[in-house]
Amino acid sequence: MSQHRGDRVQGRRSYGGVLVIPCQLNDAYRYWFLVDTGTALTMLSRQVAEEIGLDLTRPVRYKRIASVHKVEEAPVFRLDSLRSGGQRTTDIEVLVLALPAELRVDGLLGVNFLGKFRPTFEFDQGILVLR
């Protein structure tokens, strides 16, 4: 597998050193997502879900999810595509959950996307490398 420039996603480091990167949904909607290797399923805020036209009354299913503080059920939906930098994957499941308003990102990029590649982090440069 080669590493070309398209595999290097320029993001930004935020407070505490966490990495946020732009992601494009369904080839049309771009948002900043927090990269989270501790999140199994990529997550979207409810605002994003509404903007991209998901029917929130008709999830594919519900999944039990465990966060730091609680276990709860969350609706799962399917996106046509998710792109970050030059890497695009299709037919990917996402959770829709409310994010804390203090967090100024619109989603969490989880392992069901990251795991399709061999991700490495260049934290000092704020870059996610997807091979």
Partner: protein, 86 residues
């Protein structure tokens, strides 16, 4: 941003960021680099309430099929005193 004739102005992304500090911004992307990253756009809506961007964003995509949009917060994505533990 509007021109004197009332048309919305096409701006470099770097020009947009920093103009609306502390607000959420919805732009229509108008130019991209060779990797597909947006370089220019037109500000469609901005304001402090994230939820207020949902309607204009949805409307724009209905009115202009194929349009590409970018929603972002102009400022630190994580506040300077907030430790994220998800």
């Amino acid at each position: 941003m509007k021109t004197k004739t009332g048309e919305k102005q096409d701006l470099m992304l770097e020009e947009i960021e920093g103009r609306y500090v502390g607000e959420w911004v919805l732009i229509e992307e108008t130019a991209w680099d060779e990797h597909g990253n947006p370089t220019q756009g037109v500000v469609v809506h901005h304001g402090p309430d994230r939820g207020k961007l949902v309607e204009p964003a949805s409307r724009l995509h209905i009115q202009k099929p194929g349009v590409k949009t970018f929603v972002f917060y102009d400022g630190p994505k994580v506040p300077e005193d907030l430790v994220v533990v998800l």
